[in-house]
């Protein structure tokens, strides 16, 4: 129960900080803040699928893209307002994810990973397909007008967009949290860990798995739609393989099976590439080619330090604080669980 109180405290602290942020930061920091929130929403969705339900997806950039392009098309070609376009686009994403979940039922972890990897690679090609040009703008992409701040509210555009992202993010976090702590969440975890036992207990694995796919796609879609209006531009290059890989990095660094970890993961994938870029400066002029290498090194170092992600480390630390003796037993238990999972057939 101390766990629950600590969790609540952390949630309140983070929420307060997030709310205060737009009034102390300005300009591009708000843009970065909005990006972090957007990524966190996408990561929450992916974590639902991969962390809680055990289905590895390396292709969530595709659903992010459907959300982004969907919102952009609805706004530019059909004149929908942004607060309507994003939900509509996310419903489309849900359907797409749900449909993708059907064939995904048939193949196991590794093959699903590779199939979604192929999806991520194919996404830019699908987006720039000439047949869709009249909607998607082809390879030139679509430029969006930034949403106007509603009259009477004395905020600038950056602050307003940040708060819009915050509202969506908080609402989706709250929804995911309820889901995870309720019956559905338990069913998802059961399907991940003991699929046969779960079926025997009456859990309709197929329905839960496809719905989970749909939900995670919906989250990615909302994130994509928000990204479209915050950046003001969508193009096939915005949604390539690096994006899907970044999502994977985000949930692992944040911690699989942890919704709160999504925020940490989002901070990581938003800021660490910048850090890698800055670090190249200290290597001299010719080393400007190296941000990729530094990023790779940082990835490995972070994984070495936090193999279960930030959330995993936080859990261990919290338990160590609560009761030093108990934590050792639990830690070796976690090791056993990890080994067991690894030894399972894909």
């Amino acid at each position: 129960m101390a766990d629950g109180a600590l969790d609540a405290l952390v949630a309140v602290a983070v929420g307060a900080a997030a709310l205060a942020f737009p009034f102390v930061a300005s300009g591009y920091h708000l843009y970065q803040g909005a990006q972090v929130l957007i990524l966190a929403v996408a990561l929450m969705g992916l974590n639902l699928l991969t962390g809680f339900n055990g289905q590895i997806s390396l292709g969530h950039g595709a659903f992010f893209a459907i959300g982004g392009y969907g919102a952009a098309i609805l706004m530019t070609k059909f004149g929908l307002a942004y607060w309507a376009a994003i939900p509509v686009a996310s419903v489309v994403c849900f359907i797409a994810g749900f449909l993708f979940g059907f064939p995904a039922l048939r193949f196991g972890g590794l093959y699903l990973a590779l199939a979604t990897f192929a999806l991520a690679v194919a996404t830019p090609q699908i987006l720039s397909y000439t047949g869709f040009d009249s909607f998607t703008g082809g390879s030139q992409g679509l430029t969006l007008m930034k949403p106007a701040v509603p009259p009477g509210i004395r905020l600038n555009a950056d602050q307003w967009l940040y708060l819009v992202c915050l509202v969506f993010g908080a609402a989706l976090y709250w929804a995911a949290r309820n889901l995870v702590h309720g019956r559905i969440g338990r069913a998802l975890v059961a399907i991940r860990d003991h699929p046969i036992a779960a079926e025997t207990m009456g859990v309709n694995a197929a329905l839960y798995k496809t719905t989970c796919f749909g939900l995670s796609a919906l989250y990615a879609g909302v994130a994509g739609g928000l990204s479209a209006i915050v950046v003001g531009f969508v193009s096939p290059e915005s949604f390539g393989l690096p994006l899907s890989l970044a999502f994977l990095v985000g949930i692992v660094v944040g911690g699989l099976g942890s919704l709160g970890g999504a925020l940490f993961g989002a901070l990581f994938i938003e800021f660490v590439p910048n850090i890698a870029d800055q670090l190249t400066v200290s290597f001299g002029e010719g080393a400007k080619a190296l941000p990729g290498a530094i990023y790779g090194v940082l990835l490995i170092l972070v994984m070495a330090a936090l193999p279960t992600g930030a959330a995993g480390a936080a859990r261990v630390a919290a338990r160590a604080l609560a009761s030093p003796r108990q934590s050792k037993v639990e830690k070796s238990g976690a090791d056993v669980a990890a080994n067991y999972r690894k030894g399972e057939a894909p």
């Binding site: 300009g27 591009y28 720039s128 430029t143 950046v231 531009f233 690096p242 002029e285």
Partner: protein, 402 residues
């Protein structure tokens, strides 16, 4: 009650008022001091387009050279170049950081069509010069709608229009096959080709085949294109794929007249790997000197370039066409700054950028001049057709202007 919000707002308003009052008197741009001009840029130093990072390194090295010589009108150039991994959301972030945090005077040579498209509204709304963008899309020559954005190299559409006209002149009954990269670069060429041929002659294009940069080779596409029976082959491909296409078309025994985009004409890095014999007869629209072409061995401009590379870059950069590109773009930028004299407000910089008259650069073809005006935001509009004779590029015809 003075809340924090109202305080912030009023100080923001005061700052804005001061800034606007300042610009009415055309104060120098932010980032300009008595001793320094701060310039910003984003480049894909990581990610799939990282090959173009050389342009950024060349820009930086060139400015270092200028600084070593004393700077421009007593001011040193400080180029802040950030990595955007060719991702438009990241470009927006980095550009905003450059403008709002680093307070650069303006943006120079930012690379890529999607990245530049993403930041164009921001730059134009905030009246920040977005100069000499490193992309050949046609859209950067639009001073009416985007008065703060200016292109640099001859646009892809210009180039393929020139090829179209040449085909109409030399082979009016040709059957044309096109290999193109499936992105804005490749598709722009197609548009220009069709425009140059004209609506009635668009049927001359009998087959188009595209490829993704994630594919290992274009051999299969070339086979398909040959199968269409075309006798003119337009290769719109970046270096690696261009070399593959040149080699494959020769190996197949395909006797077509081959045109190749001028991003892929370097002898050392494309024609030699493809095979010098196999590259014979290629036609391109040339506008810059190839440092690996022996014909320029005694050229003063090439000597300048070589000295620069030896002193400020690494040996492998000498043959890199991207380094030649950066060398020219940076020189053009310096010319603009020189013309500004002591008036380094953003308006003045933009004005001078649109006021280049007959500027000649060491690595442009002899006789080529850079010109800009308030209605012409396309600095380099000339090219000359050249054909490869197995050893070097032979210019023919006259200097063409679009």
């Amino acid at each position: 009650m003075i809340t924090r919000r109202s305080f912030l707002q009023s100080s923001a308003a005061a700052a804005a008022f001061a800034a606007s009052a300042g610009s009415a008197r055309a104060d120098n741009a932010p980032g300009v001091t008595a001793t320094e001009i701060k310039i910003g840029q984003t480049m894909p130093y990581s990610g799939p387009a990282s090959a173009y990072g050389v342009i950024g390194r060349t820009d930086a090295a060139y400015f270092k050279m200028i600084n070593d010589e004393g700077g421009v009108n007593g001011r040193k150039i400080n180029l802040i170049s950030l990595d955007d991994a060719y991702s438009p959301p990241k470009t927006v972030e980095q550009v905003r950081r450059l403008v709002e945090d680093e307070k650069v005077a303006f943006l120079f040579n930012t690379l890529g069509t999607p990245p530049n498209t993403a930041i164009r509204p921001y730059c134009n709304e905030n009246k920040i010069p977005q100069l000499f963008v490193a992309t050949g899309a046609a859209k950067w020559d639009d001073p009416k709608h985007f008065p703060w954005t200016m292109g640099y190299q001859p646009s892809y559409q210009t180039e393929s229009r020139i090829y179209a006209k040449h085909i109409l002149k030399t082979k009016p009954n040709a059957k044309i096959a096109v290999l193109y990269q499936n992105d804005d670069f490749g598709k722009d060429y197609l548009i220009g080709l069709k425009e140059g041929l004209g609506a009635d002659k668009a049927g001359m294009i009998v087959k188009e085949a595209s490829y993704e940069t994630s594919e290992p080779t274009v051999d299969s596409q070339v086979v398909t294109l040959q199968g269409s029976g075309a006798d003119v082959f337009l290769i719109v491909a970046t270096p690696k794929f261009a070399a593959q296409a040149i080699r494959k078309s020769y190996d197949l025994g395909w006797n077509a007249v081959r045109y190749i985009t001028n991003v892929s004409v370097s002898i050392a890095t494309i024609l030699k790997p493809a095979g010098l014999e196999k590259s014979k007869g290629l036609i391109t629209g040339y506008y810059g000197k190839d440092p690996t072409d022996k014909r320029w061995a005694d050229d003063a401009g090439l000597k300048e370039y070589t000295t620069f590379i030896e002193k400020y870059m690494t040996p492998k950069d000498l043959i890199d066409a991207n380094a030649v590109y950066g060398f020219g773009a940076a020189a053009t930028m310096i010319q603009v700054l020189k013309q500004c004299g002591n008036d380094l407000s953003r308006e003045s910089i933009m004005k001078q950028a649109a006021n280049l008259k007959d500027l000649e650069l060491p690595m442009l073809l002899p006789g080529m001049k850079i010109n800009t005006s308030p209605t012409n935001f396309s600095p380099i509009r000339q090219m000359q057709l050249a054909t490869f004779n197995g050893a070097n590029w032979e210019l023919f015809g006259e200097l063409l202007t679009d």
